[in-house]
Amino acid sequence: MTAGGRALADVTKLTRRAAIGGLAAAGLGFIAFGPRGAREQGARGRIVLDYWEKWTRHERDAMVKVVDAFNASQNRIFVRCIVTSDIGQKSLVAIAGGDPPDVIGLYAFNVPPYAESKAIVPLNELAPRFGVQLDDYAPGVRQVMQHDRGAVGGGGEGTQWWATVNTAGSVAMYYNKALFREVGLDPERPPRTIAELDEAHRKLVKTNAAGDLERVGFLHREPGWWSWLWAYHFGGRIYDAATDRSLAASAENVRAMEWMQSYARDLGVERVKKFNESFGNYFTPENPFLSGKVAMIVQGPWVANLIGAFKPEMEYGVVAFPEENAERDSRSPVGLIDTDVLVIPRGARHPEASMEFIAWTQRQDMTELLATAHFKPSPLAKASEEFLSKHPNKGIRVHYDILSSPRAFIAPPTRAWQQCKDEFDTAVQKMWRLERPAAEVCGELDRRMQGLIDRAADEKRRRGA
C-alpha cells in the first residue's frame, strides 16, 4: 500500500469510528435526556389507561377536560387521551393484533359487528358495579348500546349491553328562518309532512337569469350522509332484524325513492350537478346551509356548532324531519339516532379501571359538560333544567324528543351494514341521476343487500355462532 493509500485508510477508519461513536453518544443522550411521555410525567405509580378518541378540535378539547377532571379526581388511574384518525380501521387492527387500547370511542354502527365478534367486553355485569345502569339512558339511546348476538344465526346470550354513549346525536331538520320569511313561509310553522316540505321547497327554489340554480329548499343529497333513511319517514324500514331480511324493495322505500327522484326531475339532474359543485366543504363557512344555498337540511345537532362558529347571526329552526302521512305526534317523532360510543376492547389490560373511567364520563355533570361543548343532547334520560335552558343549540329539545321517541331508529344492526350502506349509496346515485325507475333499482339493491346479509349469516353459522 502506498503512503497515500495508508493515509486514506486511516482517515476512513477514523471517520467510521467517529460516526459510530457519534451515533452511540446521540442514542445514549436521547435515552438519558430525551422527552418524557405522559406515563412518566403524570402517572407515576398509577394504572395508565390509553383512550383512543376520534374527535379533533373543540370536540377533542371538551373530552380532554373530562379526562383531566377524572385524572385529578383520584390517584390510582391515569388516562391518556390519544386522538386517533380512521379509528374504525385502527381499532380493528389493534384488537386483531392483540394490543388494543383500554377504551375506544367508536361510532354507533361499529357496535353490532364488534359485538358479533366478541371484540368488545360486555357491560351487563361490569357497568352496574360502577353505578352505571341501562335505565339511566334515554330510550332511543339504549338501542345503540345493546345488541343481540343470537338474533341472527343463533348462539347468542340474548340481548347484551356492549357500549356506553358519551355523546348522543339524533337527526332532525334544520331550516333557515330568514329564507322562510323571504318567500312568505311562516318560520314558526315548519313543514310537518312530506307534502308541506315539497311545497316549501318549491317556494324556496331560486334561479338566475341563465336558469342556473341559486338556491333550493331541500336536496336529498346534501349532505347525503344517510341516503337510506327516507323509508323510515314513509312509514317503512330498510332492514328487519328479527328475520334478518333486507326491506330495500319494500313499497315504502320505493315510494321514498320515487319522491327523491321527483326532486331530481323537477330541478334537472344536470342543473343540480352544477349547483352541487358550487358548495364549499362541510366544515367551512361555504357549507351550503350556512351560505343560504339550501334552506332545509337533514342534520345532527353538531351543525349548530358550525353555525355558531361561522355564522352566529343565522336564524335557524329545528324540527323533526317530516313524515309522509298525517300530522306527527310531537311526543313520538321519527328520527335516526346516531351516537358516539365508548367501548372496552377485548384484550384491554385493565377492564375494571377502564369501566371506572367510563363511569366517570357517564355522570350527569360530565355528559352535560361534553354535550354542551358538542352542541348535542346528553345521552341520559334526565337532563338538568340548567343544561336545557342554557344549551347553545336552539333545537336541543327537538333532539331530546327524538332520543326519547319509541319511533326513533338506528342503523340496521347487521355486521354486513357497512357494505350494505355502500350498495345503498351507489343505488341512490343511480336513482338520483334518473338512470332507471326507482322500483327497478330498489329490487336490484334488495337482492344485493340480501346477498351480503346472507353471506354474513352463513359465515357466522360456519363459525358455530
Binding site: G88, Q89, L92, V93, I95, A96, P113, Y114, S117, K118, A119, R221, P223, G224, W225, S227, K273, K274, F275, N276, E277, S278, Y282, R415, A416, Q418, Q419, D422, D425, T426, V428, Q429, R433, R448, E459, R462, R463
Partner: protein, 311 residues
C-alpha cells in the same frame, strides 16, 4: 508466476483456519442481515400469511376459517369486483400510452437546444415531489364544475365544461388527465436515455437523407426503447395499483362515485372497512398475478421491439 500461484493457493488455507461464522463468505450476509430481517418480517412473512388468508374467511376480529377457493370463486359473481376491474383496466389502457407518449415528447423537446432548458426540466419534475394527497386536493379544485380553473378556461373559448368529478362520463378522462401531471420522473429517465444516443447515428441518418421525424422514428425510438420498456413496466405496476388520488377524490361522505372506484380501493375497503381480510387477500393475489403476467408479456414482446446496444 510460481510466486503468484503459491500466494493464491495460500488464501483458502488461511481462511479455512479462521473458519466459523466470521468466514469472509459470511461477511456479506452479515452486512445485508438488517435488510434480510426486515424483508422477512415485513414482506415475505406477510406475503405468505396473506396467501393463507386468501383461502380463509378472516374478519380480523375472529380467527381465520378455511374456505378453500371460496374467495376466488366469489369474485366471479361479485358485480362490484367486475366494476372496479373494468375501471382499472380502462384507466390503464388510457393512462399508460398517454403518459408514455407525453413523457417521450417532452424529453425529446427538453433534450434539444431550447432557451431555459434546465428551468423547464425542473418545472416538469417538480410535480412528482408534491405529495399525492396534496395534488389530489389541488386537482379537485381545478376540476370543480362551477369554480374550477379548467372550466373557466373552457368558458373563455365558449365551451361549457362538464362536472368532471361527478359526471360518470367525465370521471375517467379527469383521472387520466391527472395522471399526466406525474410524468416528470419518466421524462428524466428519457432525457438520460436520449443523451446516451450516439451522435454519429444521427449524422449517418442525415447523410442517408432522413428528416427529423424519420430520425426520431428510426434512430431515437429504437435507441431509447430499453428506457421505454422500463418506464412502461413501472407505469403498469403503478396504474394497476392506483389508490390514493381516487380515494381522496371519489370516496365522499355521500357515497362512492362508482365511476371513480378502482381495484385497490375495493381491496382496501374489503380489508379494513368491511372486515373481510380473506377476500381482500385473494384480491391482492389476483392483482399480483395480473401484474406479473403483464410484466412477463411485456418482457416477451420486448425481445422483438426493444433494441439493446451491443458494446
Amino acid at each position: 508466476m510460481s510466486e503468484q500461484l503459491a500466494s493464491s493457493a495460500a488464501v483458502p488455507v488461511t481462511t479455512r483456519r479462521r473458519g466459523g461464522w466470521w468466514h469472509p463468505d459470511w461477511h456479506g450476509l452479515v452486512w445485508v442481515s438488517p435488510w434480510l430481517l426486515g424483508a422477512t418480517a415485513f414482506l415475505f412473512v406477510p406475503m405468505a400469511l396473506s396467501l393463507y388468508y386468501s383461502f380463509t374467511d378472516y374478519p380480523l376480529l375472529e380467527p381465520p376459517l378455511w374456505v378453500g377457493l371460496g374467495n376466488y370463486a366469489r369474485m366471479a359473481g361479485d358485480p362490484t369486483f367486475w366494476r372496479v376491474v373494468k375501471n382499472t383496466a380502462v384507466y390503464c389502457l388510457w393512462s399508460i400510452p398517454l403518459q408514455t407518449g407525453l413523457a417521450v415528447a417532452l424529453a425529446a423537446m427538453l433534450n434539444g437546444r431550447i432557451p431555459l432548458r434546465r428551468f423547464f426540466q425542473a418545472c416538469i419534475f417538480l410535480p412528482t415531489l408534491v405529495p399525492l394527497i396534496a395534488s389530489a386536493m389541488v386537482w379537485m379544485w381545478l376540476f370543480n364544475g362551477e369554480y374550477g380553473l379548467i372550466n373557466r378556461l373552457l368558458a373563455m373559448v365558449g365551451i361549457r365544461g362538464p362536472t368532471w368529478l361527478v359526471d360518470k362520463n367525465w370521471v375517467m378522462p379527469a383521472m387520466v388527465l391527472m395522471s399526466l401531471w406525474g410524468v416528470g420522473q419518466a421524462v428524466v429517465v428519457y432525457i438520460a436515455a436520449l443523451q446516451d444516443v450516439p451522435r454519429q447515428l444521427y449524422e449517418a441518418a442525415r447523410i442517408d437523407g432522413m428528416g427529423r421525424l424519420a430520425q426520431f422514428r428510426y434512430v431515437t425510438l429504437p435507441m431509447i426503447s430499453p428506457a421505454i420498456l422500463f418506464n412502461v413496466i413501472a407505469l403498469t405496476i403503478n396504474s394497476v395499483q392506483v389508490f390514493a388520488v381516487p380515494y381522496v377524490m371519489f370516496r365522499r361522505p355521500d357515497g362512492q362515485n362508482p365511476a371513480g372506484h378502482f381495484y385497490s380501493m375495493y381491496l382496501y375497503e374489503n380489508a379494513f372497512v368491511y372486515g373481510q381480510m380473506g377476500y381482500a387477500s385473494a384480491m391482492a393475489w389476483v392483482q399480483l398475478v395480473v401484474v406479473l403476467a403483464l410484466t412477463g408479456l411485456m418482457i416477451v414482446a420486448s425481445r422483438r421491439l426493444v433494441h439493446y446496444r451491443r458494446v
